[in-house]
Symmetry: C2
Subunit: 415 residues, 2 copies
């Protein structure tokens, strides 16, 4: 997109948007332009309906019987398959459980157990930090293991991959810049050297299509509370390719992953397939909200989603550079939409204050230290008119300097 | 209690029950006598209110801002302190997060790191199995580590404690028989040999008072969805004595346990105190239901709770033995109420079928293979009349042999 559209053109884009009816399934707070669905997705009527049913009918009335009658016990695998459809995973390879951090721990251990003669984990210095913290945790429990990082030990991750490497842990979409990695190419490169790959899909699942099976991916993890709209802290997921299933070993060996969980045996015996990644009792209420959120996804065409995502983010970049270009904003995301996830970041020396001023005006994005303003564009419920309006408010804040108000400089505990 | 009370005596007991008003705070399904609160506690109006608020107001309207405005970020420690009050833990030593299984993994690693010259974990063959599965997982990541079990390697756990032992992992209330261990004595015995102790309080928290600080306990874990009524799969808790805080190291080192979680640093740096046991993003909706459940507990006197618990379980044993004694039931729980948690188990060769028949008649207990019927008595919402009525139904089922109906022999996936 090179020409700068006017408001009439924006309205025409919304009118022609095939995903526009999806917006009605979400509960959008009045007066808010929410560009932070890459941090916490918006609630849907379906999610609330499932949550209400799980609470009042299942917990409230059926109580313990709901493990059978409401399918609580089957939920991690049933929901896993539905997430799987959105990430190119055939059934039986995805399970929903625990947190992304804990799932990274499990998959790293599983991958290293598959490469017992190797000791190295490779990751990215620019990774979402908890991935690295969990890798440190795994290294602390495996004598001789070590961690090498792109941007610290070598400029490019590809330069770190050799025959010492057991596993490459890498983000598909960079959380800060939105830059995409080539999943198939990096997986192939790792496999050429005998290494395995774990893809972190936190900013991918529900943001753009990927083809885990087609790219021959080994393992993947990701969260469900961003683009999938599963609710705050909704349980995360793990994908494991079928070819690895019979060899999965990981130390978080709890009851739900046991081959016979209700036989109350003294010794652990791993269950079949991706069930081996299950551990303890899952938070059913949060899982059920996620079930509702996934109901919304069942009819979504991922190619249409991607097309709208690129249009939204292209539009945002074009409008910001046209209308706010004089105010020192610099694009931190790839300009080429095909190399970008569903988010756009700009830097400015006063990003913190500007973001606070935006939030005060009802435009919600987020700040990432030291100078990044990050905006997420969730194609299911963000309109082209939202983009237009967000940029108009940003322009006014920059032009009038209203972000210099002292109240916008006060930092909260969590940003 | 030796004399067998009649219905008038039962009604007098309910009329004199100081905890009776608590029952009105719970949502008791009509027609149900629920003796399975030791598996999944009943919902309260307060839990539903908090859940509704968290969903519709915080997630639905305030979205990402709720991390600050609704105190989401502070919940694990805030709720931890409220659980702490019920288990004799001064503030700042308890945190709510993840699952009991995962918390066992964390505390076992932390304890073994505090005893680096020792390699042995001691536990119980009769433990709730997931405790042992997690201990196996820890052993698999620590070269030279091993696990020895009461009932397998020695008759009594005390016989296994020596100067090779790093940590004793033990249940305060046996999940099957309800038998209590002497927390202070076993902790003292472990300490005499230089070992640490982790107490599993799954069947203790909310069932009877304990004094972790007074007993000089090192670590404890437990769930919140049984007697605490936090909701299905509600997050679990960890207690760590203050004296260990500065030395806690555990490998599930995720972002929420970092000293500066919003600085996005590349390297892990453990936060202060019990926060070190936090890992990934918690399921907020489930946490908020738990917050409501804990509101109910704020006014509960634990001594009164214990007194009613012993009366309820004594009454159940007396009535069952008096009215059903001819039908081959055998008491599996301690007869002395002071040596028993808040549950009673009986064995019978046809326990599975009898329990199914009870459930069909609206008396919910549970079955534990091979021959145990387990009944939980939750003093906040179980009445003496419930006990009377449950035994009357059990007696009828045994007397008429109605449990022999073929439909009661069909085993469901989860029992």
């Amino acid at each position: 997109m090179s020409a700068v559209p006017d408001l009439a053109a924006i309205e025409a884009m919304d009118a022609a948007d095939v995903l526009r009816p999806m917006r009605d399934r979400f509960i959008l707070p009045p007066g808010l332009i929410y560009l932070d669905g890459n941090s916490l997705g918006v609630a849907s009527t379906a999610a609330f309906d499932e949550l209400r049913k799980a609470a009042t009918e299942e917990w409230g009335q059926d109580l313990i019987r709901s493990w059978n009658t409401a399918g609580w016990f089957d939920m991690p695998l049933a929901l896993g398959d539905r997430v799987g459809r959105l990430i190119g995973a055939a059934a039986g390879q995805t399970v929903v459980c625990d947190t992304t951090s804990i799932n990274i721990y499990k998959t790293l251990h599983a991958a290293m157990a598959l490469r017992p003669d190797r000791s190295m984990i490779v990751s990215e210095g620019g990774s979402f930090p908890t991935d690295l913290y969990m890798a440190e945790g795994v290294v602390s429990t495996r004598p001789g293991a070590s961690l090498r990082l792109e941007g610290v030990d070598a400029p490019e991750i590809e330069d770190l991959i050799n025959s010492d490497v057991a596993v490459v842990l890498v983000n598909h979409v960079n959380y800060k810049s939105g830059e995409l990695r080539d999943m198939a190419a990096l997986t192939r490169k790792a496999h050429e050297h005998g290494a395995l790959v774990i893809w972190d899909l936190c900013h991918t699942a529900g943001a753009l299509p990927v083809d885990l099976d087609g790219a021959d991916v080994d393992f993947a993890v990701g969260c469900t509370y961003k683009y999938l709209n599963g609710g705050p802290g909704a349980p995360a997921f793990i994908y494991a390719a079928t070819r690895h299933h019979s060899d999965i070993r990981q130390p978080l060996s709890g009851w739900w992953g046991h081959a016979r969980p209700f036989a109350f045996e003294k010794n652990y015996a791993a269950g079949e397939g991706v069930r081996r990644f299950l551990c303890g009792t899952q938070p059913i209420l949060s899982l059920r909200a996620l079930k509702g959120a996934l109901d919304v996804w069942d009819t979504v065409d991922m190619a249409q989603l991607r097309e709208k995502s690129i249009r939204l983010t292209d539009l945002f970049i074009t409008l910001v550079e046209e209308k706010c270009g004089a105010h020192g904003l610099e694009l931190e995301s790839p300009r080429d939409g095909t190399k970008r996830g569903s988010q756009v970041s700009f830097s400015h020396p006063n990003s913190y204050e500007i973001m606070q001023a935006l939030i005060a005006r009802g435009v919600i994005g987020d700040f990432r230290a030291p100078t990044t303003m990050r905006f997420g564009f969730t194609p299911l419920y963000v309109s082209y008119a939202d983009v237009w309006q967000a940029v108009a408010i940003l322009e006014e804040i920059l032009r009038t300097g209203s972000w210099q108000d002292a109240r916008f400089a006060v930092r909260a505990a969590v940003t």
